[in-house]
């Protein structure tokens, strides 16, 4: 049984909020966001390999990584504005395919006790339009994937 993820995108504000609980202590959840060997095991879309050029989570540090899939490469980079162990990471996020469009991401790690943690993510985009574009692009791909799954079902019949 998986914990539910709550995603909120308020109508008139350029935010996305993502909240998820984990059955693991806050130190482990934080470490999975900091140790590049762990990060590349989970971050990014399904089916993509993640190559990390740099992942230096500390106040004033920075990162760059590349998601690859079938020879396509998507690179992302940013800086860590602040990193407070087991509490907080604030970083910038830029897709190198859209240079200069930078969002600010805050990850808050909340110790719920009993070895449980709530991760609260908050992204601020340059505009509501940018935010919507990102969600709608995801939706486009999702519809195509849905059709592919339908196709597979039809073929199976």
């Amino acid at each position: 049984m998986s914990n539910p993820v709550t995603i909120t995108a308020p109508e008139a504000l350029p935010f996305i909020e993502i909240v998820r609980e984990f059955d693991a202590p806050v130190s482990a959840v934080y470490r999975a966001h900091v140790d590049p060997e762990l990060v590349k095991q989970w971050l990014g879309p399904h089916g993509y390999e993640m190559r990390i050029d740099r992942y230096d989570v500390r106040t004033g540090g920075g990162y760059r990584y590349v998601h690859t899939n079938d020879g396509e490469e998507y690179a992302f980079n940013g800086v860590f504005h602040v990193a407070r162990t087991d509490e907080l990471i604030i970083q910038t996020f830029e897709y190198e395919g859209s240079p200069g469009v930078v969002s600010i991401e805050t990850a808050t790690f909340v110790d719920l006790g009993d070895g449980r943690t709530r991760l609260e993510g908050h992204s601020t985009f340059p505009s509501v339009q940018t935010r919507d574009l990102i969600i709608e692009q995801g939706m486009e791909v999702g519809v195509v994937e849905g059709f592919e799954r339908l196709d597979a079902l039809v073929v199976a019949d």
Partner: protein
């Protein structure tokens, strides 16, 4: 939602303009004029797209005489959410992988 309705909904969503309209309506109701803004097509063409979405049971139009805003039908869309909401799906999958990473690290710590 039975298979026929699901087919109709997916056919309705096979068009990029109609997907754009649904995406816009997911943030709140809007009159046809506003839905037409991002597209270089006539108001009539947009009305036709809305009618197809309506017949697929994805949107409804209220009786508000002047504006007659178009509403997304949340029940109908809920059935499609698992198919279309890739953004959510990407995060679900990433977080499930993170669950796995956390299980591994906790298991390693517990070993002597």
């Amino acid at each position: 939602m039975d298979d026929t309705e699901l087919d109709r909904a997916f056919l309705a969503l096979a068009d990029p303009v109609r997907r754009g309209i649904v995406a816009r309506l997911s943030r709140g109701p809007a009159p046809v004029g506003e839905l037409a803004e991002p597209y270089a097509i006539s108001l009539q063409a947009v009305s036709r797209h809305v009618r197809i979405l309506q017949q697929a049971g994805l949107v409804t139009r209220s009786r508000d005489a002047q504006r007659r805003p178009v509403h997304l039908d949340p029940d109908a869309l809920q059935h499609l959410t698992a198919w279309i909401d890739r953004y959510r799906l990407d995060h679900e999958r990433a977080f499930r992988r993170l669950d796995g990473v956390l299980d591994d690290t906790i298991a390693k710590e517990e070993r002597p």
